[in-house]
């Protein structure tokens, strides 16, 4: 079973993302900030992480740095999903080990396309 950890401080965004990703056959867990997400990854490494940037306690960028240093932490495909839509942020995220990047607002087609890019969703026939 493919699993995806949805990390966002907005419960509405988590709910929308959950609905889209469940349709794409992911089993979903949620976290409200980077610290919660890191704990979740330590107990069970997900297949993918959908990651907001700006969050209280620990932001998505810092979380990504910690994740990639965990044992097995290079495995999850990390897809940023953020209103930080500038080229500078995108470049930093890729440099820190993000696999894809969604600029909010997003919809189902964009999420599906981005998870296709990282090889976790099959192309439609």
């Amino acid at each position: 079973m493919k699993t995806c950890l949805v990390v966002d401080d907005s419960s509405i965004v988590r709910k929308i993302a959950r609905r889209i990703l469940e349709e794409l056959d992911f089993q979903i867990t949620e976290a409200e900030d980077g610290e919660q997400a890191l704990e979740a990854c330590k107990s069970a490494m997900p297949t993918a992480v959908l990651l907001d940037w700006n969050m209280p306690v620990m932001d998505g960028y810092e979380f990504l740095g910690h994740l990639r240093r965990l044992p097995g932490g290079d495995a999850p495909k990390v897809v940023f999903c953020t209103t930080e839509n500038g080229m500078d942020h995108i470049s930093r995220a890729l440099h820190a080990g993000a696999n894809e990047y969604i600029m909010k607002p997003f919809d189902k087609d964009i999420v599906a396309a981005k998870f296709q890019e990282v090889g976790l969703v099959a192309l439609p026939e």
């Binding site: 839509n85 890729l94 894809e100 969604i102 600029m103 964009i110 981005k114 296709q116």
Partner: protein, 290 residues
């Protein structure tokens, strides 16, 4: 449809999908949205707009969907671009080693995503193509979409469909919410307005023709005629790429399927015989010329 309703729909579509309708596209909206009105159980476009203004997210989503089904996106369908990278270009690197040039035609270039996807694919192959002269000709019936293609400017929505983020970072420049493809890549693509129903022999001879998702709009005789003229516009060892739902099989023998590569075809050498049968321009050409 009242002018204010039209303006409202135009702006909404622009905001939601990047779809940029000119002032004269009422017919397009009506042809797409009247069926949707019936489906939603409302009397017409006016009432549909009222529901949208009332904040019905579901109706807004359906309207955007109905209006953008013909949209194209970067690396659309992926497979044709894998054929291009893994089969077509490697074969041509061998076959054209003498003259070191490749001519590519995007016969339904639309707003540019396809020709620029090919340009990016070529750039990504790097050193293998150093010293080669590559021409990409993008044609379309609509001057309007060609202008957009030339500008190379895309909305945030458009660059997130099919384009890997690494390629966005590498080949695009950001300008607010818009993204423009680099001058170098824009310089790789030439644009020409062209109706496939008319003679296109002036474009010369190509090694690769992408002709995807356009022949579906033509009747059978017209398709046969166009296939015949495409074969004439192609080197004997060239490649034709069709859309996922398109084929030459049962229509013409001037092209034959490339084994195990869906959507990829090569000239069969049987061009002369087939062309005779399709010498007369089909009826639709007369209509288009009115």
């Amino acid at each position: 449809m009242t002018p204010p309703d039209y303006e409202y729909l135009r702006k909404l579509l622009k905001d939601h999908s990047g779809l940029d309708l000119s002032a004269d596209k009422q017919y397009l909206i009506e042809s797409r949205l009247l069926p949707l009105s019936r489906k939603c159980g409302v009397s017409g476009i006016g009432e549909l707009v009222q529901k949208m203004k009332g904040g019905s997210a579901s109706i807004i989503a359906q309207v955007v969907e109905a209006m953008t089904t013909n949209e194209t996106f970067f690396f659309r369908d992926k497979v044709p671009f894998e054929h291009f990278r893994d089969t077509i270009v490697p074969e041509l690197l061998k076959a054209r080693a003498g003259r070191k040039s490749i001519r590519i035609w995007c016969a339904a270039g639309s707003t540019g995503q396809e020709p620029y996807s090919l340009a990016m694919s070529l750039k990504e192959m790097g050193a293998a193509l150093a010293g080669w002269r590559i021409e990409i000709i993008a044609t379309d019936l609509s001057q309007e979409v060609l202008e957009k293609s030339k500008s190379g400017v895309y909305s945030q929505f458009e660059v997130q469909r099919g384009l890997p983020i690494q390629l966005l970072v590498k080949y695009f420049k950001q300008n607010g919410e818009l993204w423009q493809i680099s001058p170098e890549l824009r310089g790789m693509v030439q644009h020409r307005q062209l109706n496939l129903l008319h003679d296109f022999s002036q474009l010369g001879t190509f090694d690769v023709i992408f002709c995807r998702n356009v022949l579906i709009y033509f009747d059978q005789d017209t398709k046969i005629n166009i296939f015949g003229r495409l074969a004439k516009a192609m080197e004997g060892d060239g490649f034709l790429v069709l859309g996922a739902a398109e084929t030459v099989v049962g229509l013409t023998d001037v092209f034959k399927p490339f084994p195990d590569k869906r959507g990829l075809y090569r000239p069969s050498g049987a061009r002369a015989a087939s062309l005779q049968g399709a010498a007369a321009m089909p009826k639709i050409a007369v209509m288009a010329g009115r």
